[in-house]
Symmetry: C2
Subunit: 219 residues, 2 copies
């Protein structure tokens, strides 16, 4: 039996080394931490969220966390993976990003109603270096599965970043635009609404759409 | 002088207790961990991302992380806070969420061009309990500053969740809709594009718009 992912929020004092102490307790319970977020970190108080695959007893882990002198309270909550699920990231110019979002949100709605968990995240950005940094950053975003580049002109360092994140397993869809990014992407889609829909279909388990099985890559 | 936030990606073996060992090294260097993400956690390999406020020497910290037997490599990267910045979260029905996103993305574009860092994240969802869970989950999302509820009917448990996250400091904007959620929100906005624009203006340091100074809360 695969252990369930458990969400835990720990309220503690705020101090260097808090995470080290908390993770020590989780490690002693052989909990496998699949996600962690620091929700707040002030001089007086810290709030930390863990998702843990726990082979053993949840009550024992919670009791041991509570017994740490730095800990004020512990709450067991639903995991973010369960709530927000897979993420599609859309970045580029405001006009195009908004249209791609329309397609992606509508399509995610249809799949989420059937039991999927897909969210659609966007960032409007301008500039080669900022976009290249943001593309590389997607590989560090938890639960990100696909990236849609929505602009009129992207190339240079952005193309290099696209090739890097594709090598790390991310699906990249580009609008049909000027510059070298379309050549570096998995798929090139001309209509922004269609690009958003295809991005969601590609990551949804409830959709019959496999990028590898497509006969062409420009639409 | 406030120390700069540094992004560090650590590639290591995948094993229970990895995070405990890594955070131990950071604590010894008196690094204050402001954010952490587990990018991958497989039996053979793990990839962990930290944002650290470091009073001392970065090279020393990187060298000590590298010297751990579990660590394969360490990269210094740009922080996600620097790249993606503040987050606006939009949730509800696909039709409305898409329209709010149009407004929020266009407005974020205008502020990001002037030096802000605002991203717009969405999740289309249906059902009282799922939405209530997602609203409560926003308080656990890193960098989330405002929530827009975009639907035709929301109340009951969702209203309770809205009051909870507002008490935790989150700004909540509701579309003008049926149900009790509009009564519980900071602002009620009828036009979805306007709701998205106002959400971004409320969190942007580059905008002159303060919710507390508004003379009315329904638009």
């Amino acid at each position: 039996m695969t252990p369930e992912t458990i969400g835990i929020v720990v309220n503690s004092v705020g101090r260097t080394g808090v995470l080290h102490q908390l993770t020590g307790v989780i490690a002693r319970h052989e909990g496998d931490i699949t996600s962690v977020d620091i929700l707040g970190n002030w001089p007086e108080a810290a709030r930390t969220y863990f998702e843990v695959l726990l082979p053993g007893d949840l009550e024992g882990l919670v009791a041991d966390l509570r017994s740490l002198p730095i800990v004020r309270s512990v709450e067991v909550v639903k995991s973010l993976q369960t709530i927000y699920g897979k993420r599609i990231i859309i970045m580029g110019g405001g006009a195009q990003v908004g249209q791609v979002a329309i397609g992606a949100v509508s399509e995610a709605d249809r799949h989420n109603i059937r039991g999927e968990h897909i969210s659609v995240d966007t960032i409007p950005l301008v500039g080669e270096q900022k976009l290249a940094d943001a593309v590389r950053g997607v590989a560090r975003l938890p639960r990100a599965k696909a990236l849609v580049l929505a602009g009129s002109l992207m190339g240079g360092e952005i193309e290099t970043a696209v090739r890097e994140v594709r090598a790390q397993g991310l699906l990249v869809i580009s609008l049909n635009m000027a510059g070298s990014v379309p050549e570096a992407a998995d798929l090139v889609v001309t209509d922004p609404v269609q690009a958003g829909v295809m991005a969601v279909m590609a990551v949804a388990d409830t959709a019959k759409f496999t990028v590898e099985r497509l006969k062409r890559r420009v639409f």
